[in-house]
Amino acid sequence: MTTPPTSDQGEEFFETLSGLDKRHAGAKVMRDAVLDELEITNEADAASEETLTDDERAAMRNVKARMMHDGNWPMAHPSQAAPVKPANDTTRAGPLGAIAQWLGIKLHGGAWKGALGLAAVVVLGSVIVFKVLMPQTVDVPPDPTVVRGEQGPIVYVENPHQAAAAMAEKLNTLGAEATTVPINDHKAIVDVVVPAGVDSARLHAELTRSGFNVERSNMYRLAFSAAIPRP
């Protein structure tokens, strides 16, 4: 490292880098590094769950489960998946346009939009005033027997960990990606992702059969608990 490089050394380095020579140890290390990176990224480009090794798949599921448990995994409810509006889509109407279409009015000039906007504001204002002045009893009181929580449906069993593991195994055989996450001694959850192409009807039937009365979705969080719910 102390002697200045000569151009011959540079040439030698590049020859090794090009695989034409094996004299320069340093260039060989760099060549290996670049080739390894190429190999890894090319393999990753074609990666899918099926191409992962068992180790990799297990690690991936563990990490996902850990992150879900910590609240770091972005969970999207299917209903949140809004369709993408094309940038050049001129056929879709805005709010005013939609009202106009509903009223059967053809908007060709800006004056109509102004008048319609004013009308919309008046209607909106009336609704707000009506809502404020109405007595609170109009709202339906919450049902005190409904237990609310973020975990989703809970099934109470004798051995929650065993039940969660059995459920995960059952769902995995049906093609889902089910991961068991132990919460504590008395509770375990199963996070389920249903990949595209999986027969979700069979999966949903299995869930219903096991006591999870859930809506059909491509993502579930199921909880098993040993505690007996209070009436």
């Binding site: 490292m1 490089p5 151009s7 050394q9 540079g10 040439e11 030698e12 380095f13 590049f14 090794t16 880098l17 090009s18 695989g19 034409l20 094996k22 004299r23 320069h24 140890a25 340093g26 060989k28 290390v29 760099m30 060549r31 290996d32 590094a33 670049v34 390894d36 990176e37 190429l38 190999e39 890894i40 990224t41 090319n42 393999e43 990753a44 480009d45 990666a47 899918s48 769950e49 191409t51 992962l52 180790d55 990799e56 798949r57 690690a59 991936m60 990490v63 996902k64 850990r66 992150m67 770091n72 995994w73 972005p74 969970m75 999207a76 998946a81 809004a82 993408v84 992702v193 990949p195």
Partner: protein, 201 residues
């Protein structure tokens, strides 16, 4: 999934993209770990770190490079951090650097690269070239030339055509890249048996 699709789906708030990206991230992280010599359960921690980093910094990705290359850079940096962390601990505890890295790095993996320190150095040099804020374009061009040489094994004339220059200028360019690599390597390790050292194979 390519970079454009990744960004398009995220901008459309399609959070399912993360599920689809997980196999690619796993492959990249496990590949990077294997190269560096990490083959135990720490790979899962690194995978989680990388996923978190990508989740919070995806907007920094501009789709100018392959998505897998960008992920690989993040994974490699994380691995290097881990090695440096370990090296610092060893130094502060009085261990000679390089002597004990065999305890940390699995030497049973089938690497053509012999020394973990050399691996670390070359990873750091490539990383530096990719991340240099100043003269970034020139640095990226250097990486392009290196990759072209590795992938195609060109003669000087072929390299000159790739660089769109004369054979003499290509030779000068090679010499310049070689000096830059040496300087970066010296900066990163300064080890007597440095990666860029001319000692024979």
């Amino acid at each position: 999934m390519d970079g454009e699709e990744f960004l398009r789906r995220l901008r459309a708030d399609d959070q399912r993209v993360w599920d689809d990206l997980m196999p690619m991230m796993t492959k990249v992280v496990f590949g990077a770990c294997y190269r560096i010599g990490i083959t135990d359960e720490r790979r899962e921690d690194i995978l989680q770190d990388v996923v978190l980093k990508v989740l919070t910094n995806w907007h920094q990705y501009q789709a100018q490079s392959k998505l897998s290359t960008w992920l690989y850079t993040i994974a490699r940096n994380r691995c290097i951090d881990l090695i440096k962390q370990r090296a610092r601990v060893e130094l502060s505890s009085g261990c000679a650097p390089g002597d004990d890295d065999r305890d940390f790095l699995d030497t049973n993996t089938d690497h053509s690269i012999s020394s973990p320190l050399q691996r670390m150095c070359v990873e750091a040099v490539l990383d530096e070239l990719e991340c240099q804020p100043t003269a970034r374009d020139g640095s990226m061009r250097m990486i392009e030339v290196i990759r072209y040489c590795v992938e195609h094994g060109p003669s000087s004339e072929e390299l000159a055509r790739f660089l769109n220059t004369s054979a003499g200028a290509a030779r000068e360019r090679k010499s310049y890249i070689w000096k830059q690599l040496r300087a970066l390597c010296e900066k990163h390790c300064g080890h007597p048996q440095c990666v860029m050292d001319t000692s024979g194979a």
